[in-house]
C-alpha cells in the first residue's frame, strides 16, 4: 500500500504542476545529509540496493547504492520534504518521506520485504540471462533462440524485457510476428522519416537489395507482391522457430523459467551517484542548466525564426518513468524520451532532436536528419542549411571537423557541408548499401562511419578526399547451425547470428583511435586512425548482450559506453583493458547516446533515456567510503 500511496502523491504533484504551470524546484549543492541502513526481513544487511530521493515539487532524482554494511549516504541535498525509496530485484520497493533541514544529518533506515515476481523488476539482460537456451527450437545450439530474439526482437524500438514480459496464445504470437515483420520489413535505408522522405528514397524503399550491393537472386515477395527486403527475409527464416519458442516460453502454459537476477553491485560499482533530470515537453532543442536544474526550450519555426520558452511545461506520470522497477519495461514510442545529448562548452547540457549531433569549434550545436541545423548558443538562434533538391536525406551520425565542416552519414556514404559556402559534397562508401549509421570525425579530420549491415567501418579523409574502410570479423564464438550461417544480412533492426552490427562510434579527441560499439555482437573495438589496425574487446559475462551503443572518451582517457539493452553504463579502462558496469536507478532506460562533462576533476558521463523521459548524470565518488 505504501507504494500506491507514494504513487498517488507523485501523481497529484504532477497534476498540480501541469495545472499551475509552476516552475520546478532547483537543487543546490549545499544542504543536509540523508543516510541510513537497509536490511532484509531476516535482519541481514543488503548491499547494492538502489536508494533514490526526490524533493517534493522537484524534477530531480538523486540515487545512491548501499555498501557491504547495507549503508547508504547521499550527497548534501537542499532542505525540504522528500520521497525516498529503496529497491532491489527480489525485494519490495519501500518508500519513506523524511524531511531534510538545511544542515545536519537525517537517518532513514529501511527493511525490505521479499517480492515474489522478481521478473517484473528485471533489467533486459536479466531477462536475456533467464531465457531457456536448450529448447527444441535451439536445435542443439545452446542459446540460439535467445540470440535470435536479441538480434531481431530487442533492437531498441523495444528491448528484451518489454517483449518477454508479455504472454500470448500461439495465434496472437503469429499476429505479433506478422505485424513486426511488416514493420521491420521495409528497407531502412534510404531514410524513411515519414513526411520528410524524399521521392527518390520513397521509390527505392521496397527494392530487394542485398546489403553490400547487388540484388537477391531468389525473389521473395510479400502478400502485396512487393519484394520482402533484407530484414523481413531474416524474420521469415526464423518465423516458425520464433513463434514456437515464444509460445513455449511465454504462452498460455507456465514454462519453468529459471530466473537469473544479476548479482547486486558491490564495491566500486555501488559507490557512484546518479542525478536524473526529467525532460520537459516539446521544443526543437532543450537546454538544461545543471547548476539550477532548470530547462529552457528553443523552437525553430517553419519560417526559420527562433522562439524561447523559459520554465517549459512538464508531463510527469510516475508510473511511466521507470523509477518503480516492478512496472516492467517500456518501448521507445511510449515515453517522452530523449535520444541525443551534448554537454556544451558553456556549462549547459543540450538535448537536440532527432538522431545525431555534434558541437562545432565555437561550441554551437549541430543536428538534423534532412540538411543541417546549427544552434548558435550565444545568439540563441537557429540557422538552417537545407539539402539541395534531389539529395537523399541523412541518418544518425553527425560530426564537425576542425575547420567547422559538418559531416553526416547517408545511404551512399558521407556528406560534407561547408557552412561558409553552403556546398554539400557526397563521398560514396567503398562498400555500397552498408547502411552507414553512426559517424565521428577524428582529430586529423577523417570522418568515420559505421556500416551496420555489412560489419565495416568506412572513412573519408577530409584533407585528401580519400575513402577506405576497415572490416570487422564476424561472430564465431557463439553456437549456430549451418543454416544460421547462411542467412543473409539485414539492414538495421534484424541481423543474422553472425552479424556484429557496428552502430555508433566516437573518435578520441585527444588520441589516435576511433572507438566502435558493435551493437549486436557485443564488442568494443578500437581502430588506429592512421594504421587502421583493429583491436577487439568482447564485453564480459551477461553484459555481452547488453547492446553496447555509443562510446565517449573523457579527458583522462577513460572510455564510457552507453548500453541500450541494460540499465547500466560501462566504463572501460584502455590501460588495464577492464570493464566496470555501473547500474542506473531507472528501469528500461534504453539509453543510447552519451557525452561526458570534462569540467569536474573526475569527468561525469551524461546519458539521455530514450524510454525514461529523463537525462542522467553519473558521478563517481571513489573516496567516499
Amino acid at each position: 500500500m505504501a507504494r500506491f500511496r507514494y504513487m498517488a502523491l507523485l501523481g497529484a504533484l504532477a497534476v498540480a504542476w501541469l495545472a499551475a504551470g509552476l516552475p520546478v524546484a532547483s537543487q543546490a549543492p549545499q544542504g543536509g545529509i540523508l543516510r541510513g541502513a537497509i536490511k532484509a526481513q531476516d535482519g541481514k544487511p543488503l548491499e547494492g540496493v538502489a536508494v533514490s530521493a526526490r524533493a517534493n515539487g522537484s524534477i530531480i532524482t538523486t540515487s545512491v547504492w548501499t555498501n557491504q554494511r547495507g549503508e547508504y549516504v547521499f550527497p548534501a541535498m537542499p532542505a525540504g520534504a522528500y520521497d525516498v525509496w529503496a529497491q532491489a530485484v527480489g525485494f519490495t520497493r519501500t518508500v519513506a518521506t523524511p524531511k531534510l533541514a538545511g544542515s545536519g544529518t537525517v537517518q532513514q533506515d529501511f527493511t525490505l520485504p521479499p517480492f515474489a515476481e522478481m521478473w517484473r523488476q528485471f533489467d533486459d539482460i536479466e531477462w536475456y540471462e533467464s531465457l531457456p537456451g536448450n529448447t527444441p527450437e535451439d536445435k542443439g545450439m545452446e542459446g540460439r533462440m535467445k540470440r535470435v530474439i536479441h538480434h531481431n526482437c530487442s533492437t531498441q524500438c523495444h528491448n528484451t524485457g518489454y517483449l518477454m514480459g508479455k504472454r500470448y496464445s500461439r495465434a496472437d504470437w503469429e499476429l505479433v510476428w506478422e505485424r513486426m515483420s511488416r514493420w521491420s520489413g521495409f528497407r531502412a535505408d534510404p531514410p524513411y522519416d515519414g513526411e520528410d522522405i524524399t521521392e527518390k528514397a520513397r521509390g527505392a524503399e521496397y527494392e530487394d537489395d542485398i546489403p553490400g550491393g547487388g540484388k537477391f537472386t531468389d525473389k521473395m515477395l510479400d502478400p502485396e507482391g512487393k519484394p520482402m527486403g533484407a530484414q523481413r527475409r531474416i524474420l521469415q527464416f526464423y518465423r516458425e522457430d520464433l513463434i514456437d519458442y515464444l509460445t513455449r516460453v511465454r504462452g498460455p502454459e507456465d514454462y519453468p523459467i529459471q530466473w537469473k537476477p544479476l548479482p547486486r553491485p558491490t564495491g566500486e560499482r555501488a559507490s557512484h551517484v546518479v542525478i536524473e533530470y526529467h525532460v520537459p515537453e516539446g521544443g526543437t532543442i532543450r537546454r538544461l542548466d545543471p547548476k539550477t536544474g532548470t530547462f529552457t526550450v528553443f523552437n525553430l519555426g517553419r519560417d526559420g525564426s527562433t522562439t524561447k520558452v523559459e520554465n517549459p511545461p512538464f508531463y510527469l506520470n510516475p508510473y511511466r518513468d521507470g523509477h518503480d522497477w516492478a512496472r516492467g519495461g517500456r518501448n521507445q514510442f511510449q515515453e517522452l524520451g530523449q535520444h541525443d545529448i551534448r554537454v556544451g562548452k558553456d556549462g549547459y547540457v543540450y538535448l537536440p532532436p532527432g538522431i545525431g549531433r555534434d558541437l562545432d569549434p565555437q561550441g554551437n550545436v549541430w543536428f538534423s536528419t534532412n540538411g543541417a541545423v546549427k544552434f548558435d548558443v550565444k545568439a540563441e538562434k537557429f540557422s538552417v542549411f537545407p539539402l539541395p533538391k534531389g539529395y537523399e536525406g541523412m541518418h544518425n551520425g553527425k560530426g564537425i571537423d576542425s575547420q567547422g565542416n559538418y559531416w553526416a552519414a547517408t545511404a551512399a556514404g558521407a556528406y560534407k557541408l561547408d557552412p561558409a559556402t553552403g556546398t554539400w559534397t557526397l563521398y560514396p562508401s567503398v562498400t555500397p548499401l552498408g547502411r552507414p549509421y553512426g559517424l565521428t570525425v577524428d582529430r586529423e579530420d577523417k570522418a568515420w562511419f559505421a556500416q551496420i549491415s555489412v560489419d565495416k567501418v568506412g572513412y573519408v579523409d577530409g584533407r585528401t578526399g580519400d575513402v577506405g574502410e576497415v572490416t570487422l570479423p564476424p561472430i564465431t564464438d557463439e553456437p549456430m547451425t549451418e543454416e544460421d550461417k547462411k542467412v543473409n544480412r539485414g539492414w538495421t533492426w534484424n541481423q543474422p547470428l553472425y552479424g556484429r552490427g557496428p552502430r555508433r562510434l566516437q573518435a578520441d579527441p585527444r588520441g589516435d583511435y576511433v572507438w566502435v560499439a558493435s551493437h549486436f555482437g557485443g564488442y568494443l573495438s578500437k581502430i588506429h586512425i592512421r594504421t587502421k589496425q583493429l583491436t577487439d574487446y568482447k564485453l564480459p559475462g551477461a553484459f555481452r548482450f547488453g547492446s553496447p551503443y555509443e562510446p565517449v572518451i573523457d579527458k583522462t582517457g577513460m572510455l564510457w559506453l552507453a548500453m541500450s539493452n541494460t540499465d547500466h553504463v560501462a566504463r572501460f579502462d584502455p590501460k588495464t583493458e577492464r570493464f566496470t558496469f555501473y547500474p542506473l536507478p531507472t528501469r528500461s532506460t534504453n539509453a543510447r547516446n552519451i557525452d561526458v562533462d570534462n569540467t569536474p576533476a573526475v569527468p561525469e558521463p551524461w546519458l539521455p533515456q530514450q524510454q525514461g523521459g529523463k537525462v542522467a548524470r553519473v558521478q563517481l565518488r571513489p573516496n567516499l567510503r
Binding site: 515476481e117 518489454y162 496464445s169 522519416d193 517500456r330
Partner: protein
C-alpha cells in the same frame, strides 16, 4: 498475482463494433492540436495514470498513429480510442472482454499478460482518453 477471469464471449459482437469505431470519433477527444488533430485526454487520478502507463506499454503500436505507421502498417492500425467513451459509452464488461480476448487476426488478447488491476486501470484511462 491474480489474473482476471475470462469474460463471457457474448460480449464479442459488441466489442467488435467498438473496435471498428471510425477514427473520426477521435475528433471528440479531450484535446485538439493545431491543425485539428485530436490529442488524448490526460489523467487526473492515480488509477487513470496507472492505466495510461498500461496503455502505453501494451496498446500503442496499433492505437497511436503517426505518418510512418500510416504509410507502413496502415492495415494493422486500430482506432486511436481518443474520445471513445464520449462517442459511445461501452460498459466495463464490454471493454474488459475486448482487452482480454482480443479479436482473432486483428488484435492480440491480453488475458495472459495483464492482471485484473491493470485491466481496471486501463479501462479507467480509456474513459478519459
Amino acid at each position: 498475482m491474480k489474473r482476471p477471469a475470462r469474460p463471457c464471449s457474448a460480449f464479442l459482437a459488441l466489442t467488435f463494433s467498438i473496435l471498428m469505431l471510425p477514427i473520426a470519433l477521435a475528433a471528440q477527444g479531450e484535446g485538439m492540436a493545431p491543425g485539428g488533430t485530436p490529442t488524448p485526454g490526460r489523467p487526473t487520478t492515480d488509477q487513470q495514470m496507472s492505466g495510461e502507463a498500461v496503455f502505453y506499454q501494451n496498446c500503442t503500436f496499433c492505437h497511436e498513429h503517426d505518418a510512418q505507421k500510416r504509410r507502413l502498417v496502415a492495415q494493422f492500425l486500430g482506432p486511436t480510442l481518443i474520445g471513445l467513451y464520449k462517442a459511445k459509452n461501452p460498459s466495463d464488461d464490454v471493454a474488459r472482454a475486448l482487452i482480454l480476448n482480443g479479436i482473432p487476426k486483428r488484435m492480440t488478447g491480453f488475458r495472459y499478460t495483464l492482471i485484473a488491476k491493470e485491466v481496471d486501470d486501463l479501462i479507467a484511462y480509456l474513459k478519459i482518453r
